[in-house]
Every structure is written in C-alpha cells, then in structure tokens.
C-alpha cells in the first residue's frame, strides 16, 4: 500500500506498488518501472485478443457494480463505422473511497496506459478521463502525464510508432457526486447538467455524443496493463479456491475511527477480520469498533460481529448481507453516535440528488429532516416506521440508484442499531413526563 504507511507484509502490492514514490509519476521513472511495455504489446495485437485476455482474467469493475470488464468491452463492435469512446470514471465521490485519488497522484502514467489499451481494445480513438473538480492535485498529475506521453509519441496519431490513433484527454468535473453515475458522467462530458439518463439505450449502443461508449473505473483500467504483461492465469492466482468469480487484487480505502487509515491492497477472498485488526491496526486506543460499512456509504451498515465474518470479495460480502461496492471501508467506534452519522450520510444524499425523480428529490430531503429531528431529541417512535416506509418507496423506482443508496444505510442502520435510535427517542419522553406531572 505504501502511502502514508509502509506496506504491511500481508498486502499484495500490484497497483499500489509505487504509492509514495515521486519518481513513478514521471515518464522516465514510469518506463524504468516497466511502464508502457503493455501498451506497446497491445497496439500490435488484434483488439479482440485483448478483450479475450481480459475476459479470461476475470477482472471485474472496481467502481462498485462489479460487472466483468472483458464482457463489457465485448459489447463494443469494432468496424461498425461509428466513432467509439472510452470514458474513464475518475469522479471518485463515494464517501469512504479515496483509492483512485492515490492512483492518480502517484502513478498517473499507469492510468494513461490503461486508458490507451482500453480505448484500443474497444475500437475507440479517444478516451476521456472524467476527474472530479475537487481533485486539483490528481488533475495536474494526470494532465502532466498526458502531456509527457504526447511529447514522447506514446499518444497521438501514430501511437508508439504503430500507426494507430489513441487520444487521451482529461475532462474536469465541477462538483457533483451524481456525475460518477455513468450516464450522468456522459451528460457532463457533453456539456449538460449531470442528470442520469434512462437505460436502455445502454452506453455500448448510445453513449457519449450518442456513440458507442464504454465507461470504466480508474482501478479497473490500471489493472489491465498488468494482466496483458503477465497473462490471465497470473491474475487468477488471487482468488478463493471455492469462488472463481472474483479474481485479482483490490484496493480498499480505510477511514473513520481506526489506528491506521489509508489504502490497502489485498487479494480477493482475504479475511475481513484479519484486515481490520492486523493490517489496519484495530480500533483507536481504549475504544471498540461499533459499526462498519465495507464498501462506501451506499452499502448496508453492519455490526462488528457481522462484518468480521466476511471474506473480502464480491460474493463474500454479499453472502454476509452487504456489498463490496467501491471498497471504501468506513469504521465507527463506540464513542460515535451512529444515528448522527447516518443522518449526516442522508444529508449527503439530499445535497447530491439531481432532483430528476420525485422519490429521490423528496425522499432524501424527508429522510434527512426526520433523522436530524431524531438526533436533536425531538423524534417520535412513529418516525422509525416512517423512515423505513420512505426507504421502501425510494428503492428501485428511480432512473439511477442514488435514491436506493440513501435508503440503504438508513434502513440497515435502523435494523442493526435500533436501540441507538430508540435511546435518543426515549430521552425526549423522559424529559416530557415530569414536565406534565408537575
């Protein structure tokens, strides 16, 4: 993992090997570390062969949904006479996640290389890297890397002397969580408000500028050069023997109340308990873990006992009632007011709702108001049922999943930590009764 701590000996550093190494961000430094070998190789291969290798490797989308990358790429039909586009989703905005930021800060050339290979594999001549507007340092790093790559003839009309055209550009966002949703991201690149689009048509049919488009997360694309260099079987060495559906390594961002926050790279199937106590160092001194969200704030919150039983891969987390999501592990200790933190999460979604769909626009705001009322000590027992009811109305009924994402931590929070909610509500009652008696 490296930055800001030294890698733990139980980590498997593939993508994060050069975190904290300033030389890796330069073109010369990156070439010395084996950079652009995979791109050179890829540009001499048939695009279909690259897609096959990625398919065989079992690489799945690291942005949250976990869709098989090779299968996604195979939806793009080269030679259909239309311009194709690759969009790299670097709008990392899911609270708890900060892995893509570190990838772009320390190894921007890895991303440029991954984008170039991805674009070539899907028959695209242009790739846009959509970086959230707040990431000023990563934007500068990636733009510099692109500049260096053009100057060295790695990108452009005759990429690496192969006669193929590969362009990679940065597109800066301007502060909207929803632009991390793939169709909203495409609207934002087109110069529109970042409202998600109704699917179908899916991006592979009609994406950015109404042309066939593939959208991939930063971490997904950065893994591709390693797979091309070492082969699909090499990548498959990291999986559980009983679960071939999740392969490779995954970066987890750890934050909240924990001894050693930061990014950790572990193979698929790693035991979550070891991860929490061994790698991350356990809870702060004198405290205990209370609640854990393993995949960014949109996935179900868990008690420590539940969370500790998980194995860290797509299926492992689902089997335990939550999701891998984006890999943003958020930890709250026993000194935290869980209700307040859930209310704060709801406020995040209310702020970031694009307001297209009624369920989301009204539901996120209503949820926030009720939760903040409970935190302030003015809650009633009916509020909990109202929250669950609103959550149900918000789930599965909107264009994108922001609405569901708001309902998930609230519903799971009430289910797992009902006593905390009721304690706040009871406080109010205790206060009221003597007042009436007197």
């Amino acid at each position: 993992m490296g930055y800001p701590h030294k890698p733990h000996n139980r980590e498997t550093v593939v993508l994060s090997k050069y975190f904290g190494d300033p030389e890796a961000a330069t073109l010369d430094g990156w070439k010395k570390r084996g950079g652009y070998v995979a791109l050179q190789k890829a540009l001499t291969m048939a695009p279909g062969d690259i897609v096959t290798i990625v398919k065989d490797s079992g690489l799945r989308g690291r942005g949250g949904a976990g869709f098989p990358t090779g299968v996604k790429w195979s939806f793009m039909k080269p030679g259909d006479g239309k311009p194709h586009y690759l969009c790299c989703n670097a709008d990392e905005s899911e609270p708890g996640t900060f892995k893509d930021r570190e990838i772009m800060r320390w190894t921007p050339h890895a991303l440029v290389e991954g984008c170039a290979i991805g674009a070539y594999a899907i028959g695209a001549e242009t790739a846009y890297i959509y970086i959230r507007g707040e990431f000023t340092e990563p934007i500068v790093k990636v733009e510099n890397a692109i500049k260096e790559a053009y100057a060295a003839g790695i990108l452009g009309k005759n990429a690496m002397g192969t006669g193929k055209t590969v362009n990679v550009w940065v597109h800066r966002g301007a502060g909207a969580y929803i632009c991390g949703e793939e169709t909203a991201l495409m609207n934002s690149i087109e110069g529109r408000r970042g409202n998600p689009r109704i699917k179908p048509p899916f991006p592979a049919v009609s994406g950015v500028f109404a042309q066939p488009t593939t959208i991939n997360n930063v971490e997904t694309l950065v893994a591709v050069p390693h797979i091309l260099n070492n082969g699909a079987d090499w990548y498959k060495q990291w999986m559980r023997a009983d679960n071939p559906k999740s392969t490779g390594t995954k970066l987890y961002s750890v934050c909240g109340n924990v001894q050693r926050p930061g990014n950790y790279e572990v193979p698929m199937g790693f035991p979550f308990k070891d991860f929490l106590y061994d790698l991350c160092g356990g809870p702060p001194e004198g405290r205990k873990f209370k609640a854990i969200i393993p995949g960014g704030i949109s996935v179900p919150i868990q008690t420590v006992d539940e969370a500790e039983a998980s194995l860290m891969d797509y299926e492992g987390f689902v089997a335990n009632g939550t999701m891998l999501g984006s890999g943003g592990v958020i930890i709250f200790d026993d000194a935290q007011n869980i209700v307040k933190q859930i209310a704060r999460a709801a406020r995040f979604f209310a702020h970031e709702s694009c307001a297209q769909c009624t369920q989301c626009r009204e539901g996120t705001a209503w949820t926030t108001k009720i939760l903040e009322r409970i935190v302030a000590g003015d809650g009633t027992h009916e509020d909990l049922d109202t929250l669950l009811d609103i959550g149900e109305q918000m789930t599965g009924k909107t264009i994108c999943v922001l609405s569901d994402s708001c309902a998930t931590p609230v519903a799971s929070g009430i289910k797992k930590f009902r006593a905390d909610f009721e304690a706040l509500i009871k406080k109010k009652r205790v206060h009221m009764v003597p007042a009436q008696v007197a």
């Binding site: 990431f135 909207a176 087109e190 926050p261 704030i297 995040f348």
Partner: protein, 200 residues
C-alpha cells in the same frame, strides 16, 4: 395559485408597464444583485490566450457544447466567479443560449455565481470525517477567521468558511480545500498555522 375568471390568453398577458421602457432592455437576473460592478471585460475575446486554449480544447470533442464545463472553469479562474455577463459570453462563443448555460452553471456546486472571499475555505463534514472530528475543525476555522457563521464572508473580505460534502480524502481526515489547494489531516490545532500561511 387559483386561476382568475378570465381566458387563458388574458391570464398570461404581461402587465402594461412590463418590458423595455427605459431603453436598457428587459429586467434580468443581473438587475437583482448578480451584476458586475464594472463593465464586463470579455475573457474569451478572439486572439486572447484563453481563446486559443479554448480553440485547442474544441479539437478534442465532436461538439462545441462539450467545451462548456472547461470554458466556465476558464472564466472562473480569470475572474473568480461566473457572472451572468460571463455566462452570456460563454453562450455566444459556444453557440448556446445564456439560459442553457445558466442551467448548467446552477447544477454544479463548484461554479461560484457570486463573488467569493479571497480565501474560500471548504471543510469536509460527511460521515467519515465527521466521526474523526470535522465539526471541531469547522468551529476552529469560524473562530480564527472571524467569520463566526457558515457561509458569510469575514469583515475584511478575506475568508469564507463552508461545510462541503465528501472531498474524497476520507483517510486523511479532515481534508480542507482552500480555493484550489487541498490540505489533508487538518485538526483544530493546525488551523491558526494554516491561516497564517494564507495571509503571507
């Protein structure tokens, strides 16, 4: 609103005293406090460095509209905010309507639609940072900048403090963004030192 007892055409007819009566055109949002104080100086004038930058960007996209977000960034970098006049200029250059551009500007939180303080301080207070004491950092900034209240500008015009939603650096709690600078692992104790660095 209940419809009056008149025909639809009558109902939507503009009042007689409405419209360009003083030769200055229709009343716009600009006359409601969003106006520039001095005559607007174009940012993207033909031949200017910014215009050349814009023309270079246009070669990267198949449509003119796609350059809208970068064009708005250029305006904000030059002027510190995006005024109605600036939106009109960008609209003209990219062959869009000012109303469309305004629609886009209002969607994205990072475009300032008003002039902002010299140092615009945004403190992340979403759940992970909140659990690590972000509220204390907000309080410290409010106290030491003299702003006292979220969103207001300090009397000297130098500082404004707001709470912001997730800045994407949760493991470095609490991250603070001051204009284009990103500061990690801010604690209430570090606030005076950070502010001192800004003043110099």
């Amino acid at each position: 609103m209940s419809a009056p007892n008149t025909s639809t055409a009558e109902y939507f007819r503009a009042p007689a005293d409405w419209g360009p009566t003083d030769g200055k055109g229709f009343e716009t949002a600009a006359s409601h406090g969003h106006a520039e104080h001095a005559p607007y100086q174009p940012v993207l004038a033909v031949g200017s460095a910014r215009r050349k930058e814009l023309d270079e960007l246009l070669t990267r996209y198949p449509t003119k509209m796609a350059v809208l977000l970068p064009a708005l960034w250029m305006v904000q970098h030059e002027r510190g905010w995006v005024s109605d006049d600036a939106m009109a200029e960008v609209a003209e250059v990219l062959e869009l309507t000012p109303a469309y551009v305004k629609g886009v500007v209002t969607f994205y939180t990072m475009y300032h639609q008003h002039p902002v303080a010299k140092h615009f301080i945004q403190v992340c207070t979403t759940s992970p940072c909140n659990a690590c004491g972000a509220e204390g950092v907000v309080e410290a900034f409010l106290k030491h900048t003299g702003c006292h209240e979220l969103g207001t500008t300090s009397p000297d015009g130098n500082f404004a403090v707001i709470e912001v939603e997730c800045l994407g650096a949760c493991g470095f709690a609490t991250p603070v963004q001051i204009n284009e600078d990103f500061i990690e692992s801010v604690t209430p104790e570090r606030v005076p030192e950070i502010l001192a660095g800004l003043k110099s």
